[in-house]
C-alpha cells in the first residue's frame, strides 16, 4: 500500500502540478543525529504510558525513548492506554513477560502505582516519568524524570510582567496536569481565569478563544497548554483584533517560527524528548552499571524557557521533532 502510494506519488511529481517551494523536496532532509550503539547484551525495556493516541507531545516522548533505545541497543516495548485500569494491565503484562526494565507514567497513580510496585517487588528496575512526581516514591520506585506542572505554571506566571488579565486555556476537560499548570500560573499571576475548550476540534478552539477575547477586552495574556492550541489562539487574537500576548507550553516547528517572529512571547518547554530518553538511559545505566539518578529526588526536565533570545538554536531541534 505504502509502496503503491510512493509509486503514484513519484509519477505525480514527474507530471505537472509540482510546487516550486515549501514542500518536502525543498526542506532539508536531516537524517537526525548519528546513531551509535552499545555492545554487549541486549536488554528489553517496557515503556507503559497513559498516552491518548495522536498527541504531538507524546510523540516526542516516544521519539526520545526510541533514540535512547537505538543508541544503547535496547529492545524497547512501548504500550499505552488512556484508561487507568487498562494501563495497569499493561504494566502487569510487562511483568509477566519478564522484561529487564520498566518505565511507567503515573498519571493514574492510585490504579497504576500498585502494579508498578509489583514490578519493583519482582526485582525489575523501574522508573517513573512524565507524571506522578508526588506519588512515585510511595510505590518503591527510585527514580523520576519529568516536570513539575505546578512549578512550570508558576514560573510562567512570573515571566508574565505586562499586567492585566490572563486567560489560561485548558484543552482537555478534567486533566489533572493541565489544571495544575493553570493553578500554577494563577499562583504567581493572580489575575488569571481559566477557559475550557475542546482540543479535538481546532476550529471551535479558535472560535471559543476569539469569543472570550471579544467578551473581555482586558485580557492581556493568553496562556495555552499545547502547541497547536497556541496557533489557534494566535489566529483568534488576530481575528478579534486583540492585543493579547500569547504564551504557551510545548513547542513545535510553527510555534518556534512564531517565537522567532515575536508573535508568541515565549514557550515553557517540558522537554518531553528528554523524559523519554532519560527514562530508557537511566534504566540501561542501572542494568549495566548499577547506577541510580537523582539521589532519591525527582529529576526535573522542565520548565525550560524558549524565547527570542535562544530560539535560533532551538528552532532546528523543534523542526526535527526532538524539542
Amino acid at each position: 500500500m505504502v509502496r503503491a502510494l510512493a509509486v503514484v506519488g513519484a509519477l505525480a511529481v514527474a507530471l505537472a502540478g509540482c510546487s516550486s517551494q515549501g514542500g518536502a523536496n525543498s526542506a532539508n532532509n536531516n537524517s537526525g543525529p548519528a546513531v551509535g550503539s552499545a555492545g554487549g547484551k541486549q536488554y528489553t525495556i517496557a515503556m507503559v504510558t497513559h498516552e491518548a493516541p495522536g498527541d504531538s507531545f507524546w510523540d516526542k516522548i516516544r521519539a526520545g525513548a526510541q533514540q535512547a533505545a537505538k543508541e544503547l541497543n535496547v529492545n524497547l516495548k512501548y504500550s499505552n492506554n488512556n484508561d487507568a485500569g487498562q494501563q495497569a494491565t499493561l504494566v502487569q503484562n510487562a511483568i509477566d513477560s519478564k522484561v529487564d526494565g520498566l518505565a511507567v507514567t503515573l498519571a493514574y497513580a492510585d490504579q497504576v502505582g500498585p502494579a508498578a510496585q509489583k514490578a519493583v517487588e519482582a526485582k525489575i528496575p523501574t522508573v517513573a516519568f512524565n507524571s506522578g512526581i508526588s506519588e512515585y516514591q510511595k510505590y518503591g520506585i527510585g527514580m523520576y524524570f519529568g516536570s513539575d506542572e505546578t512549578l512550570a505554571g508558576q514560573s510562567a506566571g512570573k515571566k508574565m510582567t505586562a499586567g492585566g488579565k490572563a486567560l489560561c486555556v485548558i484543552q482537555e476537560q478534567g486533566s489533572v496536569a493541565l489544571e495544575a499548570r493553570c493553578a500554577g500560573v494563577k499562583a504567581t499571576y493572580p489575575n488569571t481565569e481559566n477557559l475550557q475548550v475542546t482540543g479535538t476540534d481546532i476550529a471551535s478552539v479558535q472560535q471559543t478563544i476569539g469569543a472570550k477575547l471579544q467578551q473581555d477586552p482586558s485580557i492581556t495574556y493568553v496562556v495555552t497548554l499545547g502547541a497547536p492550541i497556541a496557533l489557534a489562539a494566535l489566529q483568534a487574537a488576530q481575528g478579534a483584533s486583540s492585543k493579547a500576548k500569547i504564551v504557551t507550553f510545548d513547542l513545535n516547528a510553527d510555534v518556534a517560527n512564531d517565537i522567532k517572529a515575536g508573535t508568541i512571547e515565549f514557550s515553557i518547554d517540558q522537554q518531553p524528548y528528554v523524559q523519554g530518553y532519560m527514562a530508557v538511559q537511566a534504566l540501561w545505566l542501572n542494568l549495566t552499571n548499577g547506577n541510580d539518578l537523582g539521589g532519591g529526588k525527582p529529576v526535573l526536565t522542565g520548565p525550560s524557557f524558549v524565547d527570542k533570545s535562544n530560539i535560533d538554536a532551538i528552532a532546528t531541534y523543534a523542526a526535527n521533532n526532538t524539542r
Binding site: A12, G22, N25, G54, A203, Q207, A211, D254
Partner: protein, 353 residues
C-alpha cells in the same frame, strides 16, 4: 431536473416561511419541519442578547456565525442523509482524513496545494461511496457500517500520518504553490465593511440553499423523502434507492471534505486526532432542526437553524462569562431548552392544523 408533480407540501422559500411563522401562523408554514427550531433559535438569540453584551456586537455575531458554519456545513449533508433514513458516524473523522490527505500528498510530493485538494476530494468521495455501497449491499444498518468506518479512519489517520511525517501532525504547507488561492476559496476573511466574515459562512448558506432547492424542487428531493419514508415502497414505484442512498453518503463525504479543506487552509497544518466526536454534533444539529431519527422527514434549513443554535449557545456561554468549569452543563441545559421550545411549538402547530 424537470419539475414534477410533488406530493410534498408546496415549497416555501425558507426565509419567507420563517418570517410568516412569526406574523401569521398559517397552517402551511407551521407544517414545515424547521418551524420549532426557528422559534428555539429566536428564544436563544433573545436570551443571550439580553445577558451577554458582546453577543449583539457585529464582531460577536461574526464569531457566532463562523462557529455555526463549521458545524452547519457538514450538518446540512447529514440532515439530507437522515431524511434518507441513514446515519453517518464517520462524518467527524473523515473531516480530518480529508485534511490530512490533502496536506500530506501536496507536501510530501512537493505538489501544488490544489493537487492535494483534488486528490483528497477523490479519497473522501471514495469513502462516502464505500459507506453507501456497504450499507446497500449488506443491508447492515448504517449505524454499524459507519461506526466501523469511524474506527478505521481514526486508526488510519493516526497510523498513516505517523508513517509519513514521523509525527502526529502534518507539516505546515503555507509555502506551497497554490496555497494562497486555495486559502482564498476555503478560509479567507471577507471584509463587508461593517463586519468581517469568514468565507465558510457564505459557503454554508450557499450549500443550505442548494440542498433546500434539491429537496423541494427536484425529483431527487422527492426520492430522498421516499427512500427515508419507506424504502420498499419507494423501490416499488421505481425510485433508484441504491443510487440515492449512496449519493447521500457521498454528499456527506463531500461536505466533510469541504470542512477539512477549511481547517487545513485556515491552520496550515492538521493534527491527526481532529474531528472525533463532531459526528454527533452534526446529527444533533440536524435533529434539533427537525429531522426525524427514523428518516423521511426534515429539512436543510432546519439543519442550519440547528447549527446556528449550537453556535449561539457555545459562543454565548463564553460571551456571558459563565464559569468555564460548568461549560458542558450549560451547553446541555441550553440544548434541552432549545429542544423543548421546538417540541412545544411543533405540538402547538399540529393542534392548530
Amino acid at each position: 431536473m424537470s419539475s414534477t408533480v410533488t406530493t410534498e407540501k408546496p415549497p416555501q422559500p425558507p426565509s419567507a416561511g420563517q418570517t410568516r411563522a412569526q406574523r401569521s401562523l398559517t397552517a402551511r408554514v407551521l407544517g414545515r419541519p424547521e418551524v420549532g427550531a426557528f422559534a428555539a433559535a429566536v428564544v436563544i438569540f433573545i436570551f443571550f442578547t439580553a445577558i451577554a453584551p458582546p453577543f449583539h456586537t457585529v464582531q460577536g455575531l461574526s464569531t457566532v456565525l463562523y462557529a455555526s458554519s463549521t458545524i452547519g456545513l457538514v450538518a446540512v449533508a447529514v440532515s439530507l442523509l437522515m431524511i434518507g433514513g441513514e446515519f453517518d458516524l464517520s462524518a467527524g473523522v473523515s473531516v480530518a482524513t480529508a485534511a490530512l490527505a490533502a496536506a500530506m500528498i501536496s507536501y510530501q510530493f512537493s505538489l501544488n496545494a490544489w493537487v492535494g485538494v483534488v486528490v483528497s476530494l477523490l479519497i473522501a468521495l471514495a469513502i462516502g461511496f464505500l459507506n453507501g455501497y456497504l450499507v446497500m449491499r449488506t443491508g447492515i444498518p448504517s449505524f454499524l457500517i459507519t461506526l466501523s468506518t469511524f474506527f478505521v479512519l481514526q486508526g488510519v489517520n493516526l497510523g498513516v500520518t505517523k508513517l509519513v511525517t514521523g509525527t502526529v501532525a502534518t507539516t505546515n504547507i503555507d509555502k506551497l504553490d497554490g496555497f494562497a488561492s486555495a486559502k482564498a476559496l476555503f478560509a479567507s476573511d471577507l471584509d463587508l465593511g461593517f463586519m468581517t466574515l469568514k468565507i465558510t459562512v457564505l459557503w454554508w448558506l450557499l450549500f443550505v440553499a442548494v440542498a433546500t432547492w434539491v429537496l423541494l424542487r427536484t425529483r431527487v428531493g422527492n426520492w430522498i423523502f421516499a427512500v427515508g419514508g419507506n424504502q420498499d415502497s419507494a423501490r416499488a414505484v421505481g425510485v433508484p434507492v441504491r443510487r440515492v442512498k449512496i449519493g447521500l453518503f457521498m454528499g456527506v463525504a463531500f461536505m466533510s471534505w469541504f470542512l477539512g479543506m477549511h481547517l487545513l487552509f485556515n491552520f496550515n497544518s492538521v493534527q491527526a486526532g481532529q474531528g472525533v466526536g463532531n459526528e454527533f454534533i452534526y446529527i444533533i444539529a440536524a435533529v434539533v432542526g427537525g429531522a426525524l431519527l427514523t428518516g423521511g422527514y426534515g429539512s436543510a434549513v432546519g439543519s442550519a437553524l440547528g447549527a446556528f443554535i449550537f453556535g449561539m449557545v457555545t459562543q454565548g456561554i463564553v460571551f456571558a462569562g459563565w464559569d468555564p468549569n460548568w461549560f458542558k452543563a450549560f451547553l446541555g441545559a441550553m440544548l434541552l431548552l432549545a429542544v423543548l421550545v421546538n417540541l412545544y411549538v411543533k405540538n402547538y402547530a399540529s393542534q392548530r392544523r
